[in-house]
């Protein structure tokens, strides 16, 4: 049997794969002081991957390969844009951070690019095997990147915890997949979806769905499978933590939604309550734990757990209420796009702020606004956006979420909306605490005495891009709505 390969549909992956190889080769010929050229190449390559995506979006239509196991529809393209743009921002914020210490630079970019390639493959997968391999390539290199500060015991610990939980979740996920394959006789999502109605009463099917959810929840660090995340984020190099909190979290999260939506819609009575519980717990536990954090990276780690809970709300609500899942899907994607931008901005602020204050403790950031007003303003901007204050992008994410929940209707949905509302208030409190420290607290003499250092151009560019987009989406949300609308294509054309 022969298969047609559509090279245009694979072009983004091919560009990134070519960049990976080129980066490896280039790294061989560079002396240590010239290693930043690998970063330049990576950034250009990732941006180059966007070109065919934009072309395909303009052209429209769905491209399906290999018996429908690899599908490039608008939903997949939107996700690829999210993964490439956030990967681009993480690469930018890495440059000065990685250069400053004696890290292995070439290998760092190689591993980060490999992980980006994995998430690109994952977004097109409509088949258990491709999905599993894509997810594995997304997380595998990150086990090592989390431990990249080799001499630092905390970084070592971050790496080992992440690794053990990562392989455990893979094993659980695979066991669920093997049961699903055995029950339905197929690995393609469309074929699985077609076989589900005859199997609904099987306990083994419910069990395999639960295994899948647990496996994905570990990767997406949803409560109660989140306990590795704060430690790993704190110990990992900060750009890697930013990547973990956006790309790798989104990869696990999106993989779960793709499977539930395209392969298992026939058995939503099993997974809908499970997602409901995951969403409610993630929001509540994430926010309550964030209240107690003194370290800014840990605070962002818990906040990203809570934000993932918010992201899950529309989907869980619609599934529980039995209403239109496509609507919920687009709300979730809008939230994801906005979250990616503002969270990466917040991490870039953390990197810049840690350089300025020499510390990751919120108390040490007191009075940063007096020392460095621009950075202070940016801190306020991104944290207010995360809290959902208009006219920054975060408010629109929350608005879309609540709108979609209210559309879904039903008692359990309203309970979830109430939990989300209470949590938004709690979240505002700890985001505001950071802003208060930066602007209202008196700076320590030590901070004022520190010499003012110029920031690297790359980190300024990261901040500028994420700031521009955060403000632009907040004022002109139609831009984000486009992403949501386009992502609905999975409902009709996908698979």
């Amino acid at each position: 049997m022969t298969f047609e390969i559509d090279y245009l549909a694979l072009a983004p992956e091919l560009v990134v794969a070519g960049t990976i190889i080129a980066a490896l080769l280039l790294d061989l010929f560079l002396t240590r002081s010239k290693k930043y050229w690998v970063a330049v190449l990576s950034v250009v390559g990732v941006a180059g991957g966007l070109v065919p995506i934009v072309y395909m979006l303009a052209e429209g239509g769905t491209r399906s390969m290999f018996d429908g196991s690899y599908v490039v529809d608008e939903f997949a393209l939107i996700l690829k844009i999210v993964f490439l743009v956030s990967g681009y921002l993480v690469l930018l914020m890495s440059v000065s951070y990685i250069e400053a210490d004696r890290y292995y630079q070439g290998e760092y970019y190689f591993l980060l690019l490999s992980s980006i390639l994995g998430s690109l493959v994952m977004s097109s997968s409509r088949d258990l095997i491709v999905l599993f391999i894509g997810l594995e390539l997304t997380t595998g290199p990150l086990f090592l990147l989390a431990g990249w500060r080799k001499g630092d015991a905390k970084s070592n610990e971050a790496s080992l915890k992440f690794f053990i939980l990562g392989v455990l979740s893979t094993a659980i996920l695979l066991y669920g997949m093997s049961l699903l394959f055995g029950l339905t006789g197929s690995v393609e999502f469309t074929a699985i979806a077609a076989a589900i109605p005859d199997l609904v009463s099987e306990p083994a099917l419910a069990l395999s769905v639960l295994f899948l959810i647990v496996g994905f929840a570990f990767k997406a660090s949803a409560v109660p499978f989140h306990f590795w995340a704060p430690d790993t984020y704190e110990g990992a190099p900060t750009p890697v933590a930013a990547y973990l909190s956006v790309n790798s979290k989104a990869a696990g999260f999106v993989a779960m939604l793709i499977v539930m939506y395209t392969a298992l819609p026939g058995i939503s009575e099993v997974w809908a309550p499970a997602l409901w519980v995951l969403a409610a717990l993630s929001m509540t536990v994430g926010n309550l734990s964030a209240l107690r954090q003194g370290n800014i990276v840990r605070l962002l780690a818990y906040s990203s757990i809570a934000q993932a809970g918010f992201m899950l709300v529309p989907f869980a609500a619609a599934a529980v209420a039995g209403s239109d899942l496509a609507q919920a899907f687009s709300a979730t994607v809008v939230y994801l796009v906005i979250y990616a931008l503002m969270n990466l901005g917040a991490f870039a602020v953390v990197i810049a702020g840690a350089r300025r204050t020499g510390s990751g403790d919120i108390d040490d950031w007191a009075g940063l606004g007096q020392k460095d007003p621009v950075l202070g303003l940016l801190t306020a901007l991104f944290f207010l956006s995360l809290a959902g204050i208009p006219p920054l992008a975060g408010w629109y994410a929350k608005f879309v979420m609540f709108a979609s929940v209210i559309e879904a209707g039903g008692i359990s949905t309203l309970v979830l909306a109430a939990i989300a509302a209470v949590n938004s208030v709690i979240a505002f409190y700890y985001y505001a605490r950071v802003i208060k420290a930066v602007w209202l607290d008196t700076p320590s003499e030590e901070l004022l005495a520190r010499p003012g250092r110029e920031y690297a151009g790359s980190i300024k560019l990261t901040l500028a891009i994420s700031m521009g987009l955060t403000i632009a989406i907040g004022i002109y949300p139609t831009f984000a709505t486009y992403f949501g609308e386009a992502s609905r294509v999975i409902a009709t054309g996908g698979g």
């Binding site: 591993l111 595998g140 090592l144 069990l207």
Partner: protein, 183 residues
């Protein structure tokens, strides 16, 4: 199929014997007080699984399991154990003291999983004819229908290789680096 008919069949004797070996060695993997022994028990458990694959006519996978797992991965494990100088003698400190709770959890898990699969597949039988699955089919599938995951998996291996070397190697101290530059 009656129990008598099941027992009367020589294939099932082979299955039973190998299954007992696999289960015994698997239990020893997680209980052995000696790290090297645990790794060697895993070799036995995997070899048993390879026999099972042969019974199920998955000849090629059985060979891959022996070559890749027993031949390469387990050797890697033994290297890891030797290099980290993990206590190779008997050591009761390798397990924590949550044994009873953990055993209860895994027994419940076993019960639930077996109950689910018994109710789903009842007395279904495996449909293998004595001749093994042609390796040709596997090759066609891997390089045709599954060529994308096949290519992607090579990036996983590449990143394990390069990243693994970078992380595991001993860094030169600044002094040693100076010396190396001088030479």
């Amino acid at each position: 199929m009656t129990v008598d008919a099941w027992i009367a069949e020589p294939v099932n004797w082979v299955f039973s014997i190998v299954a007992v070996v696999i289960l015994f060695t698997a239990v020893r993997v997680v209980t052995s007080p000696n790290v090297v022994h645990a790794a060697l028990y895993l070799v036995a458990a995997l070899a048993g699984s390879a026999v099972m694959f042969l019974l199920l006519s998955a000849e090629f996978v059985a060979l891959v399991l022996v070559l890749v797992y027993i031949g390469a991965v387990l050797v890697l494990f033994l290297f890891g154990i030797m290099i980290t100088r993990a206590p190779t003698g008997f050591d009761e400190g390798l397990s924590n003291d949550r044994k009873l709770v953990s055993a209860a959890i895994s027994l419940v898990l076993l019960g639930v999983l077996s109950w689910a699969s018994l109710s789903a597949f009842g007395t279904d039988t495996v449909n293998t004819v004595g001749s093994p699955t042609a390796t040709e089919i596997l090759g066609d599938a891997i390089l045709g229908r599954f060529v994308i995951p096949f290519e992607v998996v090579s990036f996983i291996l590449l990143s394990a290789l390069i990243g693994g070397i970078t992380v595991a190697r001993r860094d030169l101290t600044p002094l040693e680096e100076e010396e190396r530059k001088a030479v």
